[in-house]
């Protein structure tokens, strides 16, 4: 990275000591300039990540309601979480539902819609716009829209009734809340779909032609050509899906409180109580800050461990063209 000026200096028969001193000075200057440019992030990272992570670790060993001083309780919060808090496990089970059922369904539907888009030649921009549009709708508005559409006397049940199909109570019936969430989730598939579309269009045509020549059936082509080629994107979607599972809050919160703001978070019957809902409920409705901090640390550790495991396992099933990018 030697600049012309530096090279000139080097070519001069200047004394070695002088040269070294000057180089050290310019390196130090460069370092200072870089740190000056980095300063917003350095402040932000310290104030909004390092400090909160440490403070939250401390709070997680205390009983703390903000009004009075934190009171040291050792591992009590963690013990309560794993052994005595029944809603913790409900929240875990519901969050696992997102990661194991909802996210894979979204990935499958994303691949399917993207595949449809690769097959239509004319009208691609139109279809792409239509399929992507729901993703732009703010989550609160989408949730409110679906609460209305899926209300027991709403348009969807009206259509189901005309077809002589059962008319579920959707967001009022704990058994039907998750199918309802699935509909919202599949409606907003746009991001996943666009990523898969780009990845599908990136698969070299020669590979398909070769498979065609060898007489591969469509399924075989998909399994042995397409799937390995899009596996990096599947990996990315699963990783993001896991993190989003922990964050899942808005839709569930809006649905629970629709109709009556006094409904508890997770209504009906805690079927919509997700990990973040439990954290919100404990920290910011009950002001059990110590317990909420413990919940957030468990979340942090699980995300870190799961990410490492996913990355490690990815070497076995993710196919990178030309090595790891």
């Amino acid at each position: 990275m030697a600049t012309v000026a530096e090279r000139d200096v080097a070519s001069e028969r200047a004394r070695a000591a002088e040269r070294r001193r000057r180089r050290r000075r310019s390196a130090r200057r460069r370092q200072l300039v870089a740190l000056a440019f980095m300063s917003p992030w350095i402040i932000g990272f310290s104030a909004f990540y390092v400090y909160p992570m440490l403070a939250s670790l401390y709070f997680s060993f205390t009983k703390y309601d903000i009004l009075s001083q934190p009171e040291w309780v050792g591992l009590a919060n963690y013990r309560f979480m794993f052994t005595s808090d029944p809603l913790f496990w409900v929240a875990i089970r519901n969050t696992l539902w997102i990661m194991v059922i909802l996210v894979p369904l979204q990935v499958l539907f994303g691949i399917a819609t993207a595949t449809v888009l690769t097959r239509v030649k004319r009208g691609l921009p139109f279809y792409r716009t239509v399929f992507f549009l729901p993703t732009m709708v703010p989550l609160v508005a989408a949730a409110l829209g679906f609460i209305y559409i899926l209300n027991p006397a709403g348009p969807v049940n009206r259509i189901l009734g005309l077809l002589h199909l059962p008319e579920p109570l959707w967001f009022v019936d704990p058994r039907w809340t998750k199918p309802g969430l699935t509909l919202i989730g599949l409606w907003g598939i746009g991001q996943v779909m666009i990523i898969f579309l780009a990845s599908l269009l990136d698969v070299p045509r020669q590979l398909y032609e070769a498979a065609d020549l060898e007489g591969a059936r469509p399924w075989q082509t998909f399994r042995h050509v397409t799937l390995p080629m899009i596996s990096p994107v599947i990996f990315f979607s699963v990783l993001i899906g896991m993190i989003q599972g922990f964050q899942y809050f808005t839709q569930a919160f809006v649905i629970s409180k629709a109709g009556d703001q006094d409904h508890e978070v997770g209504f009906p019957q805690d079927s919509l109580l997700f990990y973040s809902s439990r954290l919100y409920q404990q920290g910011f409705e009950g002001f059990h800050m110590g317990y909420a901090a413990a919940l957030s640390w468990v979340m942090f550790v699980v995300i870190m461990v799961a990410t490492l495991l996913l990355i490690r396992s990815s070497r076995r099933w993710v196919h990178y063209q030309g090595g790891f990018r």
């Binding site: 600049t3 370092q31 870089a34 549009l133 703010p138 609160v140 990136d202 800050m289």
Partner: protein, 299 residues
């Protein structure tokens, strides 16, 4: 992506020069019809919720609660009533304030950071970039408890400050996107400016920023929309003070405001809330499609 499409187009042009047997042509035609049928069916499924929402926003409340799917008569005045039924203008102003200042903050703070992470050589750069990437993965819930306590001490709860001020100190997503873009700008341009005696700040402002305008526009758009749509943070920090509510929070609280569910007004308000986003989307569709691809595949 465009290269592949172009290659594909060339290949198919070559193929079409040869005469196609009628059998194959018929089969291809049937396949096209089948593909379009699936695409049209999916389009209807994706658009139907919009139709229901628009229809309901034009009904009387009795109609909205009845099994009618189509409004009769059309109550266009619902859209006026929304503004009278609750302080819609105030919530819109709050939302614009939050989204606007957040965008300014993110641009001001992330441009120099991305510059240092992509175009300056210094010790610790790789480590700093890894830290940025790791915060990219962290959900806000992880740090929220102590931050809430800090904002209580500062007296910021009930205002928009906790939402806006942190964004003046960098945002991992924006830093990452801008860094990726800055890396694509040829190094020779900076070197030439350096030979001319330009300082790093001058290089950033006179060389890099003008070249990075599309990327800056994209991250500004993303941040604006993120803040416009954001629900969790405004609920948490401003939820206790109706004067600071953003549209997302106000819409969720609508049932309290109207003392009961008024579905027609709720849907009209939701539509007004999503309208700017959808309009922006139609004008800047390319940015979204390419932005998503950039973050998704090239990450």
């Amino acid at each position: 992506m465009s290269a592949t499409t172009a290659a594909g187009a060339a290949a198919s042009a070559e193929r079409s020069r040869r005469p196609v047997p009628p059998e194959i042509r018929r089969r291809r035609m049937l396949l096209t019809v089948a593909n379009h049928s699936v695409a049209i069916a999916l389009s209807i499924a994706f658009l139907l919720p919009f139709v229901f929402i628009v229809a309901t926003s034009l009904m009387t409340n009795q109609q909205a609660l009845s099994p009618n799917i189509w409004p009769h008569p059309f109550v266009w005045s619902n859209y006026k009533t929304v503004f009278e039924a609750f302080p819609f203008v105030r919530y819109t102003l709050n939302t614009v304030t939050y989204a606007g200042l957040a965008t300014v903050g993110v641009l001001l703070s992330c441009v120099p950071v991305a510059y240092a992470l992509s175009r300056l050589q210094w010790r610790g750069r790789q480590a700093a970039f890894l830290l940025v990437l790791s915060t990219l993965m962290l959900p806000p819930q992880v740090t929220i408890v102590p931050l809430y306590v800090v904002f209580v001490r500062l007296g910021w709860i009930g205002s928009l400050k906790p939402l806006i001020i942190p964004l003046f100190f960098g945002d991992a997503f924006t830093i990452f996107l801008l860094r990726q873009f800055f890396l694509t700008i040829p190094q020779e341009l900076s070197d030439a400016a350096r030979v001319d005696g330009a300082s790093e700040l001058q290089i950033l402002l006179r060389v890099i920023v003008p070249l990075a305008k599309p990327a800056l526009a994209a991250v500004a758009l993303f941040q604006f929309l993120y803040s416009w749509n954001d629900f969790f943070s405004p609920l948490l920090y401003a939820g206790n003070n109706p004067d600071s509510w953003t549209l997302a929070v106000a819409l969720q609280q609508f049932t309290t405001l109207s003392r009961g569910v008024l579905w027609n007004l709720q849907m009209a308000a939701s539509l007004l809330f999503m309208l700017p986003v959808i309009v922006i989307f139609f004008f800047a569709q390319k940015v979204f499609v390419e932005g998503v691809t950039l973050t998704g595949v090239k990450g």
